[in-house]
């Protein structure tokens, strides 16, 4: 560890606000770029699956 204490680590000799703001934004952007497509794909797959089931069900009834 480069810093003497945790408070020292947070304040970074007055530069903490700039450093932590940068890393917070980086984290938000990286997470958004991963989670948004994951959520969208999940929703799309669920929607397509429901559509698939609603079109498949009447066909089964006809067969029985």
């Amino acid at each position: 560890m480069y810093f003497a204490s945790f408070a020292d680590f947070l304040s970074m000799q007055g530069h903490g606000i700039y450093v932590w703001a940068s890393y917070a934004l980086g984290l938000v952007l990286i997470l958004a770029n991963l989670l948004v497509p994951i959520w969208r794909t999940r929703r799309l797959r669920q929607r397509l699956q429901r559509r698939l089931q609603s079109t498949a069900a009447p066909a089964k009834e006809l067969n029985s």
Binding site: M1, Y2, F3, F9, M12, Q13, G14, H15, G16, Y18, V19, A21, S22, Y23, L25, G26, L29, I30, A32, N33, L34, P37, I38, R40, T41, R42, L44, R45, Q46, L48, Q49, R50, L52
Partner: protein
């Protein structure tokens, strides 16, 4: 030789092939990016020494430089995809270009904002209209323009061709960004990474930076595949292979990171 090239193109043109392959690649990319970014940021924030001139604000470099490099690499990829889209009209390059633009835009934004946050304690200003900063801002607007074009035109192929032209024309901005620190007077420091020379920084600063750079590239590839797979499903939703894929896995347990084995 020509045959292999043709086969290669044919494969890359196939969304199903892409979907299968990307599903197998993603866990590796995810692991590599998460490990590198996690270890890299802890190293950068807590263990790397501070710069004797810039103090602790120097730690922003570990985010700023990879974001800026990635922003430009993503743009080059976008332009190359644009050329292939225009010449061969491949569906997959259209899809990858749509997936690439938002990631590139967010990396450009990150580079600009972290640069600003770094500028306050080191230069005493958020922003100056010098060549490096202005050309990066132009890059952001290029990305936003490309995304707007991709979104505005209804037919995906026409949208892809229009935005491909803008992407290719905008490539002129990339050498301007690169050489802006050498051609014009600027506050911005010269390039941190040089392929041809030994790094000017000490190892304990250079290694975490390299780690973050690898992490950012792996993250880019991972996010690109995630976005592209979403686009593939939208465009191919009526095809047999997507129907079979959805049939094989129940919706409640569907995991986008899993690969299709149909």
């Amino acid at each position: 030789m020509k045959d292999t090239l043709l086969r290669w193109f044919h494969k890359w043109g196939s969304p199903k092939w892409f979907y299968d392959l990307s599903g197998r690649w993603m866990p590796w990319l995810a692991g590599l990016s998460l490990i590198c970014l996690l270890v890299g940021s802890i190293w950068a924030l807590a263990f790397a020494p501070m710069d004797y001139q810039q103090g602790n604000s120097f730690r922003i470099i570990y985010l700023h430089v990879p974001a800026a490099i990635l922003a430009q690499s993503a743009y080059m990829l976008l332009a190359i995809l644009g050329v292939i889209t225009l010449v061969w009209r491949m569906k997959m390059t259209e899809i990858l270009a749509t997936a690439c633009a938002p990631i590139g835009a967010s990396m450009t934004f990150l580079a600009l904002v972290t640069g600003s946050l770094w500028g306050v304690p080191t230069w005493g200003t958020w922003w100056i209209w010098d060549a490096r900063l202005t050309s990066m801002l132009v890059l952001l607007f290029l990305y936003l323009g490309i995304m707007a074009l991709q979104d505005a035109i209804r037919d995906p192929s026409s949208a892809a061709r229009a935005s491909a032209i803008l992407a290719i024309v905008g490539v002129i901005n990339i050498p301007i960004i690169k050489y802006s620190v050498e051609w014009w007077y600027t506050l911005h420091q010269p390039a941190t990474f040089k392929l041809t020379e030994k790094p000017a920084m000490p190892m304990e600063m250079w290694l975490p930076l390299l780690m973050m750079l690898i992490g950012f590239y792996a993250f880019f590839a991972w996010s690109l595949l995630l976005r592209a797979r979403h686009q593939v499903l939208i465009r191919e939703q009526k095809t047999r292979w997507v129907t079979q894929l959805l049939d094989a896995k129940p919706a409640t347990k569907s995991d986008p990171s899993e690969s299709a084995k149909s």
